[in-house]
């Protein structure tokens, strides 16, 4: 509106103050306690170390996904010169700066590297000509170099973009914004490719014989969605605590909801594209992925994803009235966040025990993939047993608690909004037609 004068409102609270310290402390304690508990539980279980590693990997991936998603959000904001997203950008910036803690949190994964990634087993790889051909990509030194590059770029970009934005709070310099816009182009492309390759390295290589060109994109679709499920929840929570109450309006929630809906549908599009191509070609080295996930209980999880991540939200989140209703939007954010986790769970966990000696003998000795079903059925139940699920929850709380602690550590150190961003006035006045 041309003549509308923007009032930030003297009552609006841009700082977390002691609330930030409290959440930080709570997250830190809960996270460490949960991780210790998980380690104890894993040690007490029979061969629990293996289950712990995969539970931990799933939880770690969820927060890797949310952080990468936040970074793509920030980069996209600058790349498209957006103004609507200014009001929530600082929250995304803080979430995107979690790659250093995430790097530290890879220690258990590095310790259990040999157990997680079966392509590190010499005899396994050399038992299959297809895998021998993959050695040039799937070997430990190259894997580590790749991961180092991912993390160097992700850490560098996230710190640079947040640092410039926080510095702008002091000097209000337009030059900073222009500089960020300049760097956003290559940054966006770099993160896009990093996410694709991370999908291959951290998820697809768990089943090194599996071939699918769709999987990296499928992982990317999950990454794209995560931040739009998290941001509205964080914003609503902050507003309930009296922060940013006059700044974030129903119009911003509406736009976040649109993106959430769009990415959830894109996830379904790529997920189905992957399934249909594999279904049509019916080649064993492709179908193994779905074979394991259509056995016993995993068929229900596959169907739960189809309905929970696509069909139900397709109708439930379609209407603008739903996206403009805070309570309903919050419900769908929690819902899709849960199914986003289930998506990772579904990609990582069915093969926990398939890659063990019992599972491998069944796979290696079989030339008929359908004969796998009987042998595999017994071991696919294991990741769904109460103790394994308890480990999943504990790892989720553990990694999540530390992630939240670090996010609030950063949020506490600056304003909750880029208060001197040149686009702020336009962003505050956002109205959907």
């Amino acid at each position: 509106m041309a003549n509308k004068i923007i009032q930030l409102g003297p009552k609006d609270q841009f700082y977390l103050d002691e609330l930030g310290s409290r959440i930080m402390g709570g997250g830190l304690i809960a996270g460490l306690a949960a991780l210790v508990l998980a380690a104890v539980l894993g040690a007490a279980m029979h061969d629990g170390w293996r289950q712990f590693l995969f539970s931990y990997l799933t939880a770690w991936l969820l927060f890797f996904v949310i952080s990468a998603s936040a970074l793509l959000f920030v980069l996209g904001h600058h790349l498209f010169r957006a103004s609507w997203s200014v009001v929530v950008r600082r929250l995304a910036e803080a979430m995107s700066c979690n790659f250093i803690p995430l790097l530290v949190l890879t220690i258990p994964l590095l310790l259990g590297f040999h157990k997680i990634f079966i392509w590190t087993h010499y005899h396994y790889v050399h038992s299959d000509p297809n895998l021998i051909n993959k050695i040039s990509y799937l070997n430990i030194p190259f894997f580590m170099v790749r991961s180092a590059i991912y993390f160097a770029v992700l850490i560098g970009l996230s710190l640079y973009f947040r640092g410039m934005s926080v510095a702008q709070d002091q000097d209000g310099s337009v030059a900073r914004m222009l500089k960020l816009r300049q760097q956003a182009g290559w940054g966006f492309l770099a993160v896009f490719w990093i996410v694709n390759f991370a999908g291959v390295d951290y998820i697809m290589s768990l089943q090194p014989k599996w071939l699918s060109y769709m999987e990296p994109g499928f992982f990317l679709a999950g990454v794209g969605m995560a931040i739009y499920a998290v941001l509205p929840l964080v914003a609503m929570w902050l507003q309930r605590r009296g922060r940013l109450t006059n700044s974030i309006t129903v119009e911003h929630y509406h736009d976040l909801g649109k993106w959430l809906y769009g990415w959830a549908m894109f996830w379904a599009y790529l997920g189905f594209a992957q399934y249909m191509l594999i279904w049509y070609a019916n080649v064993p080295k492709e179908t193994t992925f779905f074979l394991v996930r259509c056995v016993g209980p995993w068929l229900f999880i596959t169907l739960a994803l189809l309905f929970g991540h696509f069909i139900v939200p397709f109708f439930g989140l379609m209407s603008r009235h739903v996206k403009r209703n805070k309570a309903l939007l919050a419900f769908w954010c929690v819902w899709l966040l849960f199914f986003g986790y289930l998506d990772l769970f579904w990609q990582v966990q069915p093969i926990v025990w398939v890659n063990t000696h019992a599972g491998l003998t069944a796979i290696v000795n079989s030339h008929d993939p359908y004969r796998l079903v009987g042998a595999v059925e017994k071991i696919v139940w294991k990741p769904l047993q109460p103790m394994a699920l308890a480990l999943d929850v504990l790892c989720l709380v553990g990694v999540g608690g530390l992630w939240v602690a670090h996010t609030f550590y950063l949020l506490r150190r600056s304003a909750l909004m880029p208060i001197r961003d040149p686009n702020l006035a336009e962003g505050l006045a956002l109205e959907n037609m």
Binding site: M1, M276, M318, S319, M433
Partner: protein, 188 residues
Amino acid sequence: MSTAQNMEKPMSAPRLYGLLAEFSDVQALLDAAVALRKAGYKRWDCYTPFPVHGMEKAMGLRPSILPWIAFTGAMGGVVSILALAPLCNAFLYPMIFSGKPYWGLPGHIPMAFALGILGGTVFVVHGMFVLARLPQFYHPLLHSERFRRVTDDGMFIAVEATDPSYSPSATTELLKKLGATAVEEVRD
């Protein structure tokens, strides 16, 4: 049709369409829209060179039913192909394609997707045309010389003479009071 009849009867006086009021800026237009709605006017509209935020609220416009029309079209497309494909492939002419079952649902989903988009877009475009009464090659307001500026910088409110609250003098008074820079009668 009515134009042709008018041309045959050139002696009859042109029908009064209503009052056209020009406003100087967006805010005045929005305020006037709120006041007109509160005064109980029903048959009137605002004309601007660009979309104005908050106008639907100021005018009290209800949400369009167009989304429901689009939804119906899209769902119609999806349902029809999910019925037609198995009907042909599994019942009327059972045939095996590349070793897939007669009723291979995954193979029908791309068609359902395409038909869903086709149905949605066809219904939304045609629904928009019907709801907006398009195509409309003629409008009484085009007689006004002043109204030409609506595609440049003119902001207008037109109150139709068929409105129950319409009265030539009182409505003119009201529009002028609301800040109209000019009010004129438009005849068909």
